[in-house]
């Protein structure tokens, strides 16, 4: 997964956390500290989800006994 995709998912998740929070706690203003917390949680969630996904793929490939296709090396000019 590219860095851009990770960033986009992190931002989306942070926004989703913020929206869920303000729906659950309408009397609490989402200010700097809380916004940062949602951003950190968004990044952490994406990284954990990505790690779990890679682990599952690795586990599945071990079960079937197939190895992932080797990466092609770039030819040097």
């Amino acid at each position: 997964m590219s860095k851009i995709a990770l960033t986009v998912f992190s931002i989306l998740l942070a926004v989703a956390y913020g929206v869920a929070f303000s729906q659950t706690y309408p009397d609490v203003a989402v200010t700097g500290g809380l916004a940062t917390l949602f951003a950190v949680l968004g990044i952490a969630t994406v990284l954990v989800a990505f790690g779990v996904f890679k682990l599952l793929v690795w586990g599945a490939s071990r079960k079937t006994g197939r190895r992932a296709a080797p990466r092609r090396r770039r030819r040097r000019a």
Partner: protein, 217 residues
């Protein structure tokens, strides 16, 4: 407003008291939320015995002055609460009510009564006027907000208002909830990550300012 001990009006369903022990920023924030969220008793249309009257102790001799100031220039909630907390709130009466509560404390209150009770704020709800009682026999509802983040006061007050509408006012089913615990954790965590935000802001300003200066040249 409660201008003196034992001055409660008779006939209400429940009697609640906002108990503050010292003038502080926390207590001002609590008063702001109380003023914002709890409507005046004269605005209520229900029968008296169905109403929970929420008393804020006020110094008796200062009450006319407060009413005069309120009529002259209705300030915003924060200014009003700040001014009220420093000049008009009767901390002695609040202390007296707390002392009455800790006179013969039930098991649930013993630990709290052993502390210095200087933090607060607290909300106390009873079925009858309670400021004059020397020792308040349970059951009653006592909400200790001393460990609650001030940003959560609005939510706790909202939960309190739901609680006093329940058949069993003292069961704390709306106050001791997972929802409010998660809020408390989130607010504490947000305090921890605040330095990250400040650091990022500082870093951005460090990067942006030299770049802007270079482009000006």
């Amino acid at each position: 407003m409660l201008p003196a001990i034992g001055n409660e009006a008779i006939g209400y369903g429940l009697y609640s008291y906002a108990i503050l022990t010292t003038p502080s920023e926390r207590n001002t924030k609590f008063l702001v939320e109380v003023i914002k969220s709890i409507p005046g008793i004269k605005e209520a249309a229900a029968d008296l015995n169905r109403l929970n009257i929420f008393y804020i102790p006020i110094q008796e001799e200062q009450q006319p002055q407060f009413v005069k100031e309120l009529r002259a220039k209705p300030a915003n909630f924060t200014v009003l609460a700040d001014h009220f907390g420093t000049s008009f709130y009767d901390f002695r009466m609040a202390r007296a009510i707390l002392d009455h509560l800790c006179g013969l404390p039930p098991d649930t209150m013993k630990a709290l009564c052993r502390t210095d009770l200087s933090r607060g704020p607290y909300i106390f709800t009873y079925a009858t006027p309670a400021s004059r009682l020397n020792a308040v026999p349970p059951p009653y509802l006592f909400v200790d907000l001393s460990k609650v983040d001030p940003r959560a006061f609005g939510e706790v007050l909202s939960a309190f208002r739901e609680q006093v509408k329940r058949d069993d006012v003292t069961d704390r089913a709306r106050i001791d909830t997972l929802r409010l615990k998660i809020l408390q954790i989130a607010l504490t965590a947000s305090d921890w990550v605040e330095p990250i935000e400040n650091g990022v802001q500082h870093l951005v300003s460090e990067i942006v300012h030299p770049a802007a200066a270079a482009s000006d040249k």
